[in-house]
Amino acid sequence: MIKVWDPVVRVLHWSLVALFVVAWQSPLRSDLVHEWSGYACLMIVTARVLWGMWGGPHARFSAFLRSPSATARYVRALAGGRAPRYAGHNPLGGWMIVALLATMAVVCVTGWMFTTDRFWGVAWVRTTHDLGTDILLGLIAVHIFGNAAMSILHRENLIAAMWHGRKRAGGI
């Protein structure tokens, strides 16, 4: 087993999961809880983006963002049942990280805007926040499905790996 996910990645990942669940479930119960869990999500997203630029080897965007053509090649290999195993994110997983972080940022920022006098009650801000949340939930479903599918395909437990950070040696 080799160390893949550093402690920063893992702590940010699971605290984002927890705080997103709190933020998602709280809007009708407590404005205070909803707003502060949302701000915390935004801080985590910011920290993850910074860590993606200057963090550990597998955490960096430069380590896992592949070109569209390389990603398309990976998709064809996957469809043909010969997808290579990656130690870090595979190309689809890499783009999923970007999509999740970007959508989460949009939802957080529009939520914060709704607390300002300038944007309070402005319809497009609300619509973007709600629609963004639906898109985010869809992405999360695909993210979980993708990890479950790749865990089965490559006979490893990717969810546990995000918890303890270790993965089987080998892979690209």
């Binding site: 009708l28 006098d117 009650g121 402005v122 939930l137 479903a141 499905f145 599918a149």
Partner: protein
């Protein structure tokens, strides 16, 4: 198996996430055809010095987002037939 798990997961998340009535207030107001137009509520509130940002139906009431006469952000509910204010529980 995976596919059905995925569909269940996705449908479940969407069902939980979709914006239905918030349950913050409910009004016995009948069909929307019998409601007073939003514009009338807007006019009434603007006469009080409010700046109305958005009015949408919620739980059979009109839900209003506005800045009140003191410039404070308010989320308030009104009965769509009588235009009386409807009290909501504090969140």
């Amino acid at each position: 198996m995976l596919r059905s798990a995925f569909i269940t997961l996705g449908a479940g998340l969407l069902a939980l996430g979709s914006a239905q009535a918030t349950g913050l207030a409910s009004c016995e107001s009948g069909p929307q055809s019998g409601w007073k137009p939003k514009e009338e509520l807007t006019k009434m509130l603007e006469a009080k010095g409010w700046k109305v940002r958005m009015i949408k139906p919620d739980g059979g009431c009109y839900e209003v987002y506005a800045l009140d006469e003191k410039g404070e952000r308010v989320e308030a509910y009104f009965h769509p037939v009588t235009l009386d204010p409807v009290p909501i529980a504090k969140k």
